[in-house]
């Protein structure tokens, strides 16, 4: 394996739903250890891109490479074992399962029980509110708590690449800030992160690099600080 190959390499990725082309041949890379964001208007194709990477949509085999291996179109359950985890849009917690059971499902692929318990402790350090609600069903949690659970659950698989789809959706500004602090902390601990976010300012402030998507194509990509200074980005996404 080429030491400088990115952890995730997307080339010419195309996604269509029936006749509708949602993603029209995009290129995107995430190097190991990076925190990268993908921003864009509603319907730009961000969720489709993440779903394709996570194995939820049929796409060409060579259009996605993870650790240099072509993984396009491989089923999601297999990709989890390779070290990929997606926190889906809308959180996707199992609402009738308890917090503990949700976290146990996050560790479904693992058998190292002692290590799982250690990771569980870490998750509860990160999200003390979850610890107080371990036996509560996930459906009764607040939106912010559900998002924390969704992130904690994804971390329980010990991913090398964590994909997050709009972790701020529907949450109060303070909770959003807290969630992003935690994502940054997770990234600092060595997990590579690719996050889709509507809140472009916050995402760009936290990330190393960013991609801007419009109608299924990547129109811009640069370091986050350069994007924050970019006139086009400031007008379209930062409301200036």
């Amino acid at each position: 394996m080429n030491a400088r190959a990115p952890l995730l390499q997307v080339t010419g990725l195309a996604v269509s739903y029936g006749g509708i082309k949602a993603v029209k041949g995009i290129d995107l890379e995430v190097a190991s250890g990076e925190m990268v964001c993908l921003i864009g208007a509603n319907g730009a194709g961000k969720t489709s891109t993440l779903k394709a990477i996570a194995g939820l949509l049929p796409v060409a085999r060579d259009s996605i490479r993870f650790e240099s291996e072509p993984i396009g179109g491989r089923p999601a359950f297999e990709l989890v074992r390779r070290g990929l985890a997606l926190v889906p849009e809308g959180r996707g917690v199992f609402s009738q399962l308890t917090v503990d059971e949700n976290l146990a499902m996050g560790a479904y692929i693992r058998r190292d029980h002692a290590e799982i318990r250690r990771d569980l402790d870490n998750i509860f350090d990160l999200f003390p509110r979850l610890k107080e609600r371990r036996q509560q069903t996930a459906g009764t949690l607040s939106g912010g708590e559900q998002q924390m659970l969704a992130i904690g659950r994804a971390l329980m698989s010990r991913p090398r690449l964590l994909l997050l789809d709009e972790p701020s959706m529907g949450l109060a500004p303070l909770v959003v800030a807290r969630i992003f602090e935690i994502i940054t902390e997770v990234a600092r601990q060595g997990v590579t992160v690719l996050v889709v976010e509507q809140n472009a300012r916050l995402a760009l402030q936290r990330c190393d690099r960013g991609y801007v998507m419009e109608s299924g194509v990547v129109t811009l990509h640069d370091t986050a600080s350069a994007l924050l200074d970019n006139d086009q980005v400031r007008k379209a996404y930062l409301g200036e």
Partner: protein, 309 residues
């Protein structure tokens, strides 16, 4: 009063069988929203395989104790039914995953017909006398009676249902089954191979069906290649009564249906001036089904439809 108690006892016996079969319907429905109409045929195959094995062992003059012979019959029926259920899922239902819901439903009816015809070819079209070799001691409770076979049916049913409940709530596979039934796509994101979980669901339901088949065979002393149809349909009614997709609901629905049916059979003559006899007992399951569908479509313990999303 004695008739009343007696019919409750009989009803609970029958109900335990319905509950075991209803669990198979409800588990499969819970996970892929398919009403597996072929499930009743799995019960039939369970009874028939046990019939053959028990008959063969008796023919050998093995001198084994009767209880052990029946147990061996069940022990043979269970893996056969599991294999049949796995095969039907694999061959008939899995290719239709994602197809409009009517397609697998009609396929299920087709599978049911095929299995029934297979049963006829293997075990003949005649009713078979299921060897009633268990010593059937009768205990008197006031004016009513309970037999050892009834007690055995209760004991087995209760322990099976207890084990299933534990399994669903305590084991990795059980939690994965519940997760998959709530959101298969997210289950995949957890690394759960949804197809395997679905196959496991069919297989577990089939094991319960096999045991139920041995129970009815032993209880009524008769087995026939069509026995699965009506039994399956009634168990389906029980599952709907309890709230399809809901496990405790299937158990409760089975017991209630058994009791309603037994009481109905016991009293229908008195109430209709003997216009209708107890041979009309099969009607009650469907009356219950219609009443549930009219007044409480989500069943006794079922969630409201909106809760699923």
């Amino acid at each position: 009063m004695d008739t009343f108690i007696q019919q409750i006892i009989n009803g609970l016996t029958l109900g335990a069988v319905y509950a075991m079969v209803a669990l198979g319907y409800t588990m499969v429905y819970g996970i892929i929203q398919l009403i597996n109409f072929a499930h009743g045929e799995v019960v039939m195959i369970g009874a028939m395989v046990a019939f053959s094995v028990i008959g063969a062992l008796l023919g050998l003059d093995s001198g084994l104790p009767p209880a052990l012979i029946v147990l061996l019959g069940a022990a043979a029926a269970i893996p056969v039914c599991m294999a049949v259920a796995y095969a039907m899922e694999r061959v008939a239902y899995r290719p239709l995953r994602g197809a409009p819901r009517l397609a697998p439903l009609i396929t299920a009816i087709g599978v049911s017909i095929i299995l029934q015809q297979l049963g006829m070819m293997i075990w003949s079209r005649n009713p078979l006398a299921f060897p009633q070799i268990l010593e059937n001691r009768i205990f008197h409770l006031g004016g009513a009676t309970v037999s050892t076979v009834q007690l055995a049916i209760w004991l087995v049913a209760v322990s099976m249902m207890g084990a299933l409940t534990l399994m669903i709530h305590r084991t990795r596979l059980g939690i994965a089954m519940r997760a998959t039934s709530q959101n298969p796509q997210v289950a995949g994101l957890m690394g759960i191979d949804v197809n395997r979980v679905i196959a496991a669901t069919f297989i577990i339901g089939a094991a319960l069906a096999a045991i139920a088949g041995v129970m009815v065979g032993t209880y009524y002393g008769i087995a026939h290649y069509t026995m699965g149809s009506l039994l399956g349909l009634k168990a389906f009614c029980a599952a709907v009564l309890g709230g399809i997709g809901n496990l405790p609901g299937a158990m409760l629905g089975g017991l209630i249906l058994g009791v309603v049916e037994a009481l109905g059979a016991g009293y229908i003559g008195d109430f209709t001036g003997n216009w209708f006899g107890s041979n009309y007992q099969d009607v009650f399951a469907f009356i219950v089904l219609i009443l549930v569908l009219v007044f409480r479509p989500s069943g006794l313990l079922g969630e409201r439809v909106g809760d699923r999303t």
